[in-house]
């Protein structure tokens, strides 16, 4: 480390600048969301209610997020549920939220807890009802979980137990899984090249 510091670069300055840009980008992303929401509502009213448009948009986002998760998950691994929780944390922290994975009572139960989330602040700034934020977030995650269940033939459930926009102090989501055949059928299977020799 000492040797690195000897090089003519100030890492602290570099990281600080990068973080500023990164945070600005996150904020632009959130602002863009609410601005698009406004535009969509103005175009679609009175045929569609704002909440229906918002939920549809989060559903679209959810399908795309699920696709990103697919390659990070492996149903034959015992960490399948924990890995879903980690994926959710990864997506959340990328957007400026603070989230952690917490283990439940057994390997079939995990929690994701958010202690910080900038989205409600933006919702307030754009005059969006707080409950819409809760429902939108929930729609996003439920869509992701539905797609995961479809692809991996699993029975994962997600339940929103607490939400910052509701004044709960944190967001808390419980993930559970019912063991299915697709989770157990490949344990011990020698399908990877090299395991079987002629």
């Amino acid at each position: 480390m000492k040797e690195v510091m000897a090089m003519p670069v100030n890492p602290e300055k570099e990281i600080r600048t990068l973080m500023k840009k990164f945070e600005a980008l996150q904020n632009i992303n959130r602002a863009t969301w609410y601005e698009w929401r406004q535009a969509a509502i103005e175009c679609a009213q009175p045929k569609y209610k704002p909440i229906d448009l918002v939920l549809k948009a989060w559903e679209v986002v959810g399908h795309d997020t699920a696709k990103a998760y697919f390659n990070m998950l492996d149903v034959s691994k015992p960490t399948f549920l924990e890995d879903i929780a980690k994926c959710i944390v990864m997506s959340s922290t990328m957007m400026g939220e603070t989230a952690v994975v917490k283990k439940g009572e057994n390997e079939n139960e995990y929690f994701v807890q958010w202690d910080r989330c900038p989205w409600p602040e933006f919702a307030r700034r754009y005059g969006v009802p707080m409950e819409e934020d809760v429902l939108g977030c929930d729609k996003w995650f439920q869509t992701v979980i539905e797609d995961i269940n479809q692809l991996f033939n699993t029975k994962v459930k997600l339940e929103t137990q607490k939400a910052i926009p509701r004044g709960d102090g944190c967001c808390l989501r419980r993930l559970t899984i019912e063991p299915t055949q697709s989770m157990t059928k490949h344990k011990g299977a020698k399908q990877v090249l090299g395991d079987v020799k002629i």
Binding site: A6, M7, P11, E14, K67, L73, N153, Q181, A189, K190
Partner: protein, 660 residues
Amino acid sequence: MSQKPKWDYNKFPGGKKYPNLFKPIKIGKLTIPNRIKYAATEDNLNGRDGFVKDAGLEYMRLRARGVVGGICTIQGVYMDPEGFGQGYVGQAAAWDDKFIPGLKSLADAIHEEGAVSNYQLMHCGRVGGVETPVCVGPSAIPQRLRVFRPVKEMTKDDIKTCIKEHADAARRGIDAGFQIMEISGIVGYLISNFLSSYTNRRKDEYGGDIEGRCTFMVETIHAVRDAIGDDIPTVIRLCAEELLNDVGGNTPEESMVTYKKAEEAGIDCLSVTQGWQESIVPVISRDIPQGSWLYNAKRAKEAVKIPVSMAYRLFTPDLPDKAIADGILDIWEMCRPMIADPLMPKKVLEGCEQEIRPCVACNLCLARLFRDAPMTCYVNPVCAHEADPDWQIKPASMQKNVMIIGGGPAGLECAYVAAERGHDVHVYESKKELGGQITPASKAPYGDEELYGMIEYHKAMCEKAGVNFHLGETVTTELIDDELPDVVVLAAGAEFIKGDAKGFDGPNVMCATDVLQEKAKVSDKVVVWGGKKPGIGVALYLAERGKKVTLVSRDRKVGKDVNPSYIWRYIKKLNEKRVTTYKECDLEEITDKGVIVRNHYGTRIPVEADTVIYAERTPRQELKDFVKEQNIELHIIGDALVPRALSNALHDGYRTGIRL
């Protein structure tokens, strides 16, 4: 029924060397003279309306010539007018009698070459619907590859219609004159979708356990059999291992159940494959050693009594010949080796193995198909141009004295083609050995040694064509003055260059080729500058030897010059070996402690390193201006034009060779 052999195999060297490949086998009631099969290969050479075109016909004719009496399979046809079964824009169709004349032209071409014609039915299922908004499958399971369309679940009526369409299309194939009927059920196509627990979640008689999931396949086989009668042998292609553990696909044991059910349903021959397009495990690329999958042929042989064929990394005749002798395989099947060299088995028979243009398992052929482009081949410039007379090697109208500067792949390809056309060709190579950059490139790990096969091929072809070599001789302006060639082909390749960053002249900076050829000693922490193939090759070579490697690419992507069907394997290996990659970055400074990497928005990242390796290239064109001044015909090819991939060098060389 017996196919009368056109060749007396025992009179040929290959017949003696590989006796197991050149002995007959019975499939159903039909006796095939040898054990060679050209496997169905989509080529996108037909019209978007599904009609056979000349390009596809001549492509097929040449492969039929290559199998010397063996089986030649046409690309799988789709069978529904809506196009849900169509997986490729240029896939041949068979959903109406109007397609029979085109299909007949294919069968006739195969027969004219003395081969046995095999017709394949291929509904692409989950990977189909290339011209429709959705594709169809047993269940609406989301796609994880973005290139494919959303899946619509088939109703029972859809299934019944689809089975009937298989039968009708099968009948059209027989009307067109084909001798064998093959059904494709592999890699994610419809039958495999029904068989797999990953894609079939139905609760009706077409789903459930593996027995239920076989129902669609069994009903299809029965319907096809009813349509074509008992005399036509039927073949099915099925996965021995789906390699879909991560999404809950079939186990290998379940796959064997599908084999047995197919045999019970009346199939006469089984083609064994492994992996789906969605598998995250490499299956057919050159990082998989030749013969690796033969154990699946053995499992199939143990499961069924009918003949078993297999393709997939069996590129040289010795492996299948031995496998047949050992009783674990009956028929040697291939497509990519015969995309690269259509006459490959013929050359084996004639004892000319050194003249086989080797497939380097790069999968450019597949990459093109998935981008709706006609197939091409990385190493075979004529592929897909078989019908075009301008692409063939024809005698030159006037003999010329051709000086080729550089003995790498571009120069050698050009040399043999020009010499075959009757030119007096001289290749000058400053080193004592031929090969150019392929020599160090073939030292990179994960199968890259197979790249050197191209040079071995070129040596044989140049020798046969009478090319003159001047090894260890550097071309100078004086030499050009002395020799006075009619044509100069500048194929001197590229040279590796250092960047502008401060410190590039330091003692800890070395060239990628010196590292690969073990001419330079590398410390434990290494930064490789250059994210194209040479940089990836040296990074993996060092990571494999336990070095901590950082790869810095000026391009937006690592491996910009690697074809899209192959790059993911390199990325996977780089990740597995924990190679750190910086994209859209450059080196700002090199010190004896490490480097400063600067990204495109100016952030500076210090990276510890003892050694810096440069792997960026620039064309070598020193003699260009002099040759132009002398008014000598000049061609610049390969990396000497622009540093690119081996494929570009070969295609440049060929195209120049046929035009001199």
